[in-house]
Amino acid sequence: MTTEPDSSADAAEPRGAATATAPPQDPPPAGGPTVAAASKPRVGTADLIFKNLTRTAGFGLLALIAVIAIFLVLRATHALNANTGNFLTTEEWFPNASPPKFGVAATLYGTVVSAAVAMIIAVPVAVGIALFITVYAPRQLSSVLGYIVDLLAAVPSVVYGLWGLIVLAPHMKGIQLWLNDYFGWIPLFSADSVGRSLFVASVVLAIMILPIVAALSREVFLQVPIAHREAALALGATRWEMIRTAVLPYGKPGVISASMLGLGRAMGETIAVALVLPASFNISAHLLSPAGNTIAANVANGWGEANDIGRGALIASGLVLFIVTMIVNIIARAIVARRREFSGSSA
């Protein structure tokens, strides 16, 4: 039984392999050991090489993340040491001046606010689209619509930016004036003048992440067991009651993680925002005033004229963005993992 330790050394084998190789050990027929003895060593080396190749790739992925983090931090600390302002609370962005003074406060504020407003607009509408496609629309129409939503999710963001700049921004003037006229008593909507504001950027972001969130939510709603839906309807529920009791509870974790993915996209979106916003560095609660900037847009706009410290400062702000999106992702992952625990079966 020299084969015994050999196979246990290859600890990692596919699930089925353990049960498949176990039975032959009990009856030792005449041919069995010779075949194993002849083939096992050769199998071992080749297998080991291939296994280590894939494992190296796996560790390479970890190394890649480490290298990303290390190089961003290295470049960033260089600039942060030269900074005369507080990086987290300063609103100004003069990294190219001497002495350099810059902070991430204004751009981080713009990033979070524009992404949050985009979520408030996009998520309910996206859930509506997903419900329409899965529950309300006739069957043939629904598969076509699902296709279209998937395709729209693939439209590159630079196209949304171009459209937002040239088509949407002029049209948004009216609705911003209207919001200002009737809801101006809320500080959020008061403004001296309206224009290419954070609000417009949020609407562009909302339109951009809409198909992404809708496509993922649709997938989740499609997985609701038909039996659940039919059971609700058989008990006399109206269609809305069926959605509320069968579809939404089942799909909620999926919708949340889809929204988080959309949030991550909205926060990291660069070009659409860079084209729409006028790039000013101040924290203002007035969503409609033509002002504001986001971290990603600031990198795209500012890096052309940046000197060494300036590039380091942009990389430092990118690091902040990285951390924020990572937190969002971890939250989303935790929510999805919890759902798996609760539902018990893999649907």
């Binding site: 990692a12 049209h171 809305w240 963005l321």
Partner: protein, 355 residues
Amino acid sequence: MSTATVSGPAVDSGPDRLRLRGQSLPRWVPLAVAAGAVVVSLLIYLLTPVDSEIQIVLMAALGFLIAMTVVSTVVEGGRRARDRFATTLVYTAFLLAVIPLIAVLVSVISKGAGRLDAGFFTHSMNGIGARDVGGGIYHAIIGTVEQVLLASLLAVPFGLLVAIYLVEYGRGRISRVISFFVDVLTGLPSIIAGLFVLAFWVLALDQGFSGFGGALALAVLMIPTVVRSAEEMLKLVPNELREAGYALGVPQWRTILRVVVPTALPGIVTGVMLAVSRVAGETAPVLLTVFGTNLINSNPFSGEQSSLPLYIYSQAGQPQKFAVDRAWAAALVLIIIIMVLNLIARVFAGRNRLK
């Protein structure tokens, strides 16, 4: 309100006592209410200073929602009214969302089609200023194709190996850690990938801007997508196939390469195509690593290149009409390329679906 008064007494005193569903609105009522809402909002538009067409649509939708709920509550009762309310909300959400999304496509097609001629595909921007007519995307198409191909060459084998490790070998904590970081990479904002290659390749290793730098950044973005889709597909391969391989004395690595991967191949190809179509439209990482140029540079390993998204961005940023026209035309070309890649991937997936 006339329907309420007419049909109300009919049920109370009539002979038809088996109408369990209660009163319901005739089918023409929603249409009538919708027409009314549109008329009222148009009247408001004509009589008061309203500034935008978007508002008419919003007001009509809101008016329809309120009126329909009131009518339904009066005639049909609370539960049915709530059902109608939700139905209306879902329909309006759908219509409201479809308008801008279709508007994006319509404006790209209508504004972009004007510049789509042979010269647009066969010329670069060499010597063409923002005010000049002419110019084309030849150099940008070369750049996009080379960068995306290089990125795929880097990302696909690597991603596939990681997926094989996670599905076939990975056990315990290490594979969970790797899987977690694949998720982290999935959520990585594209500009961070660009900043990384800028800090690592362009500045620290002093390699300068090149198409290959762009390919590196795009590869970082492709890897998690490739890993995830390949992982899903490998998991779908039935265990019986693996066991059959082992039972015939085939070593594990050959079983994986000759049985498992070929079985999952159609799905993996679909995932790769979707990843390619996503990175082909990425602007931010390319902006930071490839830099952009107006000249034709077909060598991705040295010197600045251009790419389609970068071209759109630089042309859209200029106020002149001819530049913006070029941006629209390039956007149309980019969308067509991505849609075709997407459609091929989906047709492929539909035909070879693994059950």
